[in-house]
């Protein structure tokens, strides 16, 4: 098991956003977390990446506990993410946005930067070249000098993924990467996610609302409702699970959907 989530609970005052969730994700898997709005998916991501501290439970990644670590420490252990509401560094260029994620892959000191030592030049060159390669891979080479905030929406979404990959992660968390995309763009994105999984040998945890995409892309799916995991399994099983249908469409719809299917 690559990522193990045990009994994670996160409360905000009286609201239990994540309620005793258990998940196990295997290396190289594309694992989706779905659920109605407010089900606690993004909260779970925030707990995973250290933005929130869980009230109880543990998370282990590659055999080491990462729960209760600061976000930057979790990032350094190879866990990268994108955000549901895009969080790029708007006033920085596309190139710099991706370069920031290489921060921990350079080790030159403050004095190296001040005196422009050989160490500085060597490492800056190395990370700049890696970033340029990544921008080429994403087709951003021409836009490298544009400010991130001036990019069209779709490009901003993809730049977030590029930036996350520049961290050289082994686990990538994608929070609604297809939000605001039309069906055609969603199809392109689906193929793209599979490609990066293979090219960068990633384990991917995905939050998504586009059901077609989730069902055709995921190896396994977990369903959250009111912070609790109500189902887990392969896409085909999830599609038929009455609890899931109830959560999504309300109890009255069960008959209709099952007879329809």
């Amino acid at each position: 098991m690559s990522l193990v989530i045990r009994d994670i609970t996160k409360r905000f005052g009286g609201l239990v956003a994540v309620d005793g969730v258990n998940l196990e994700v295997q290396r190289g898997e594309i694992f989706s977390v779905i659920g109605p709005n407010g089900a606690g998916k993004t909260s779970l991501f925030n707990v995973l990446t250290g933005v929130y501290r869980p009230d109880c439970g543990t998370i282990t990644w590659e055999g080491r506990r990462i729960s209760r670590l600061a976000p930057e420490s979790i990032a350094r252990r190879g866990v990268a993410r994108t955000f549901q509401n895009i969080r790029l560094f708007g006033a920085m260029t596309v190139f710099e946005n991706v370069l920031v994620a290489q921060h921990s892959h350079a080790s030159y000191s403050y004095l190296d930067a001040m005196f422009r030592t050989r160490r500085f030049h060597r490492q800056e060159h190395r990370i700049a070249r890696k970033v340029m390669d990544l921008l080429d891979y994403f087709g951003f080479a021409e836009k490298a000098e544009e400010l991130a905030r001036n990019l069209p929406y779709g490009d901003q979404r993809r730049l977030e993924i590029a930036r996350a990959l520049a961290l050289e992660p082994r686990l990538l968390l994608l929070d609604e990467p297809a939000a605001g995309m039309n069906p055609k763009e969603t199809d392109v994105l689906r193929d793209f996610i599979r490609t990066i999984r293979d090219d960068f040998s990633l384990t991917i945890l995905l939050i998504e609302h586009h059901m077609n995409m989730v069902m055709s892309l995921s190896d396994r799916v977990a369903v959250l409702d009111y912070g609790r995991k109500i189902a887990e399994g392969q896409p085909a099983e999830i599609r038929r699970n009455p609890a899931v249908i109830e959560a999504y469409l309300g109890a009255s719809a069960i008959g209709a959907v099952t007879t329809d299917a």
Partner: protein, 427 residues
Amino acid sequence: MNRASVQSFLYPLLTLASVGLLWIFPDTTILLVPVLGILFAGTLIRLHRWSRWSSMAFVLLIGIPVAGLENSFLFELFIQIGIYAALALGLNIVVGMAGLLDLGYAAFFAIGAYTWAIFGSPQANQFIEGGHFPLPGWPYFYLFMALAVITAALVGVLIGLPALRLRGDYLAIVTLGLGEVVRVLANNLDHPVNITNGPKGISPVERPPVDWILAITDRLGLTLQTNHAVALFFYGLVLVVMLAIVLINRRLDRSRFGRAWVAIREDEIAARSMGIPLLRTKVLAFATGAAFSGVMGAIFSAKQLFVSPESFTLLQSITILAMVILGGMGSIQGALLGAAAVTLLNIEVLKSLSEGLNHLRQTGFVLDLGFIKYNFANLSSQLEPAKYERMIFGLIMVLMMIFRPAGLIPETRHKLELEARRKGKAS
């Protein structure tokens, strides 16, 4: 001939013309404004390298010193600008780049100033036995410049570690308070042990010797008065330190540390999720800004011969902040321009305006435009622009926020750097 070539040709001519004017009328201090204006323009327009650097070197190494020896107030003005420029650059890292609103920045300036003032004057005899003080200017002043950097940076870390856990308005209030703490300490540490001499301040502070300048000018066949040599010395010192700070600032800006600062300003959570250690990066920004301020504090105390808590008030911090905002948050040229503009406005432009109006009043000048007729003799003696400094200042800030919220020279993320990298050449 392309545009850059034409400009490269015209720029030195303009520089020469502005410097020439200053040389012909060295007592007309306001003529420093076009000289500095053209100097700044040179950093912004496209010029060939030779044109830019030779013109700037000419202004700074020949133009201003020659005029300054005629009218030493020019030196004074430039030294003030240089000191404020360094302060603005330091605060620019904290507020402009890292986005940490610091309202107590003058505290680090005070720490630098007191570091030298206490030991470079008889003051230290009050609490260290043996009458070793004042320490002589050579070599101790230079040693204490370095010491001021270290002390200010250390205090920056000490204040930063607790304060920088806060954000936004909370951080502003806490830094405001801590800034006042430093000033109040300086004001009250005259008992039980007299360290700072309280509100009376410390005087006289030793200056580094300038015999060597006199020796050099003698050999060149120039006779220089000592006070001119001192002014020339501080001019040179401030210039060197300021340029060093600009260089360091630029280099940090274009390193993983500078990028981390801007990333944190843009989005803290995203920056952390990309592996940037939050507190360490913020404290680094705070300490760097403090260090710049500290070194200029030491120079300031030696130049003034006198240090008292009066120089390090909240108003001082706010003036420096205004320079950063006016110039353009996050931009190095902006901080320099902001410092020059505010300093000139404060100690030269408004004063000239007051003098001009006074002159018109006394001579009874009558303005007659046909539809409006006004006798300046009737002008109230209350109307003196120099007295309205803060009001005019506030007005300028308001207008800036409306029409140019990003400052006179907004931050630009460097583009050429990438080109240079592609060609495999480090910038």
